[in-house]
Amino acid sequence: MATLSDADLDLLSAYLDGMLPADERARVEQRLEHEPALRAACADLRRIITALHELPALQPRRSLAVDAAHPRIRRALPWRWLRPLQYAGSLALVIMAVLGVTLAGVPANQSPLAMNLAAPALPAAEEATAEGGAPFAAAAPADDAARSRSTEQAPAGDAVAGAAPPADGSGELLAGGAQVAPRAADPPVMTHLGLGLAGLIALAALVATTMRAILVRSR
């Protein structure tokens, strides 16, 4: 087998691929007629190219479809940050349900809403205590009584009335009520805050789920 130069091999390769302009192609064909080594190489290359081209198309034995659960696929999903929010939303809904059941047994005047509305009266009540000179220690033992009196002054379901000064204008009663209010209100206020937070998360989860559905379906 005669050895050809790289230039001739490049020329033959381009010739066999139909990459040569007409004039150059004509020159190659003229050389092929007169140069047996070039002709033999051209024939070999043509056969090799044909053999390569006739290699069978191969089919994979298994599907190469990607699995949405594959870690690298999950990491690549554009809404991957929505998923934790959805989990948090589910948890928030559970919390809301538990709190809802708990609150069902709380009297209306001790509901989180009523206690929260009562809270703004605290600074005024503390001020009244200071002016009236009633010592905190003296007011403390009266907690239970004051609470019941305060409850009597605040009819059930009337949250605003519960927050208003007592009808008899007694500063002591007001002061007592004010000292009692924080301890009585603390658990319901926390419940209320928890309920609000859970509601907020659940709402965000709902928005996240809707966004995901839109992303998936908008093609």
């Binding site: 490049d10 691929d17 990459m19 992303l215």
Partner: protein, 197 residues
């Protein structure tokens, strides 16, 4: 790019895995074929092809239009060459070890469905010899030859897939063919098979 393919790509970019799998089904045969020719083993090639599609999904945001097939095959050839480099760093079993049982390795089989027994033998031997010869080429030449002569891409597509200039691609194809000729013609049986076509 076909309109349908563009829609699938757009949906996949937004994270629609099922749309991406439509693209996988459209291109898996070609991607797998290139991987087999470059890697030389069907099981390894399936792993490389699978990795190609997973990587493609992960990198969809970097796809800037143009030929999706070329973009995909660029990932595939890079994955296959990475695999080969990794394999060279560790002990491995040559594909020649499987030559005695070609039915288990259709990479060595040929397309003609109705050859005579003698022809089938010749063609199978030729296909085996070609695969062995391909394995002896430098990676860049083998990639260019597989894309051009086995898969039928034109020079410009090969250049796009391999991110090489047109001149470089022409040179790799030319050198690769010449080297294949040297390898194959050194084998008397193969020379006979080639001559009988």
């Amino acid at each position: 790019m076909a309109e349908e393919e563009r829609r699938h790509v757009d949906a996949a970019v937004r994270g629609d895995v099922e749309s991406f799998n439509m693209l996988v089904r459209a291109h898996e045969s070609r991607v797998y074929g290139v991987c087999v020719r470059l890697v030389g083993d069907r099981d390894d090639a399936a792993d490389v092809a699978q990795d190609t599609f997973i990587s493609a999904f992960s990198r969809l945001s970097t796809y800037r239009g143009g030929s999706f097939r070329a973009w995909l095959l660029r990932i595939a050839t890079n994955a296959a060459l990475d695999f080969l480099r990794a394999r060279r760093r560790r002990p491995t079993v040559s594909i020649d070890a499987h030559d005695d049982d070609p039915d288990d390795h259709p990479v060595l089989q040929v397309a003609d469905a109705t050859p005579t027994p003698e022809m089938a033998l010749d063609q199978r031997e030729l296909a085996q010899a070609i695969q062995r010869a391909l394995a002896q080429l430098p990676d860049d030449q083998r990639t260019a030859i597989v894309l051009r002569d086995v898969e039928g891409f034109d020079y410009a597509e090969v250049a796009e897939i391999t991110r090489a200039s047109l001149g470089t691609v022409k040179s790799r194809i030319s050198r690769g063919r010449a080297r294949l000729r040297d390898i194959l013609t050194a084998d008397g049986t193969v020379r006979t098979a080639l001559s009988s076509e």
